[in-house]
């Protein structure tokens, strides 16, 4: 089986544009969360979000604007960055062995919602002609394939908050088993719309606004945590077979060595530590690493009351006595929960932690929950570590769990 390496990374979120910018902000604990800026902000309970408030990079001609929902624009920003870093320059034959594996929870929901608004609110009797093309769930993956010219399998994973982690894992398997030589993998999400915000409000899992410090509203593993903060963003990586990367003399950033995925099959929303543990164990077994090989876990850590306790339990179940010596942090405290993009964004941050031997903190963790008793790297980054491998966890409504393991590349 092929070994699979990472040769490019890209990210855009409330922390800024660029994989490096996102990592630095996470390392410094600079929050991208703020008061929700939205035309319907007054009508929704949700008061804070991790929004991208700066204009998106201009990546497409205006003539094509109608084809792109925000979710696809974010996707292109991340994919272009990763592709540029990889230095790939492929011919038409290689293009047919090049894939896109993308994750998104709700695709172009914003475009669809604008169509509903036209019909139901504005009393129009028709929607914009490109509503289908811009809102379909595979629009982002298809636009990446089209713009970059990847003609192999182009697939979209929609499994709520593990979507992009699963997309990365499935891309890894495709390359490992020889179905593709290279892939752009990741995910994007742009769901800060009136209806989607209202739907999340109704489920009562959104954090209350920290009125004194809105940017500190998401508090993973804290005693006073009370929910997640919705975010938007995208992240992408370029994965290649080791032989393909070496043949072209590519700079190898890290090796992807393990992917585990499972389903709790117990409850549609309530997380089950046993299901989470199965995903982590599967990834560890594939990575062929001892438990002590994992120096850092980027936790799912969404800051829901039940979720953080369940993840603490599952990490203990998998790592046993090693659990307390592993640095575990949730960077959602600063970039919010980017849903379908979360797994990819956090994996991109984890790989940079591995490369820099620096672990981003769990920001705003000044009042730890006694039930969450691992080393959550509270408040301050840890520099000068010696990391061999890192794990990134993602868990989702619907019971899906994903763990990804990256290791420093060692020829």
């Amino acid at each position: 089986m092929e070994r699979v390496v990472i040769t490019g990374m890209g990210a855009i979120s409330a922390l800024g544009q660029g994989a490096g910018v996102n990592f630095q902000a996470a390392l410094n604990g600079n929050s991208g969360i703020g008061l929700l800026q939205h035309p319907y902000a007054e009508q929704v309970t949700c008061g804070v979000a991790a929004q991208i408030l700066t204009p998106l990079p201009e990546l497409i001609p205006k003539a094509e604007a109608a084809l792109f929902d925000r979710v696809s624009l974010l996707a292109l920003a991340a994919a272009n960055e990763a592709f540029a870093q990889s230095g790939l320059n492929i011919d038409s034959e290689q293009a047919t062995r090049s894939s896109v594996f993308w994750g998104t929870g709700m695709g172009g929901a914003q475009t669809l919602e604008a169509g509903y608004e036209d019909l139901f609110v504005k009393g129009k009797r028709r929607v914009r002609p490109m509503t289908v093309v811009a809102s379909m769930n595979n629009a982002a993956a298809a636009q990446i394939a089209l713009k970059i010219g990847f003609g192999g399998a182009v697939t979209t994973y929609s499994s709520a908050c593990v979507s992009s982690a699963q997309a990365i894992g499935e891309a890894f398997r495709a390359i490992r088993h020889g179905y593709a030589e290279r892939a752009i993998a990741g995910g994007s999400e742009a769901l800060l719309t009136y209806a989607v915000l209202s739907a999340w409000d109704a489920l009562r899992v959104i954090a209350n606004t920290d009125t004194a410090h809105p940017e500190r509203s998401c508090k993973p593993f804290s005693k006073n945590r009370n929910g997640l903060v919705l975010g938007e963003g995208a992240a992408a990586i370029v994965l290649e077979s080791l032989s393909s990367a070496q043949a072209r003399g590519a700079t190898i950033l890290a090796e992807l060595v393990g992917y585990g995925t499972s389903n709790d099959a117990t409850h549609i929303t309530k997380p089950d530590p046993a299901g989470q543990a199965r995903a982590m164990q599967m990834a560890l077994s594939e990575a062929q690493l001892p438990l002590s090989g994992i120096g850092y876990i980027n936790a799912h850590g969404a800051a829901t009351v039940a979720g953080d306790v369940a993840e603490t339990a599952s990490i203990k179940a998998v790592f046993g006595e090693h659990a307390k010596s592993i640095m575990v942090s949730s960077t959602k405290a600063v970039h919010g929960h980017t849903l379908g993009a979360a797994g990819a964004l956090e994996f991109v941050i984890s790989v940079q932690a591995l490369r820099a031997d620096a672990v981003p903190p769990t920001a705003f963790l000044d009042d730890p929950d006694p039930e969450c008793d691992l080393d959550y790297v509270a408040l301050q980054a840890r520099h000068h570590q010696q990391l061999r491998a890192v794990m990134s966890n993602s868990f989702a409504f619907g019971g899906s769990n994903v763990a990804l393991i990256a290791k420093k590349f060692d020829a």
Binding site: L67, P129, M130, V133
Partner: protein
């Protein structure tokens, strides 16, 4: 409207300019028809009109506006 949608200099457009040469593909023509219908309050019908050059747009819109029921 055409210049704005395709991001081109209006001065480069003449009645004989082929839409294809302006970078308009079948999807941008569908978008254009939608906007023209809104702008002029007309309906181009289910059979998609054959729009090849810029003058075709003017002709079809003129025809529809002239026949528009007055109310």
């Amino acid at each position: 409207m055409l210049a704005e949608r395709l991001e081109i200099d209006p001065a480069t457009i003449t009645p004989d300019t082929k839409l294809e040469s302006l970078g308009a593909d079948s999807l941008s023509v569908i978008e254009l028809i939608f906007d023209l219908e809104d702008e002029f309050g007309v309906k181009m019908g289910d059979e998609r009109p054959t729009l090849v050059v810029v003058q075709d747009i003017a002709d079809i819109v003129d025809g529809l506006v002239a026949n528009k029921p007055q109310n």
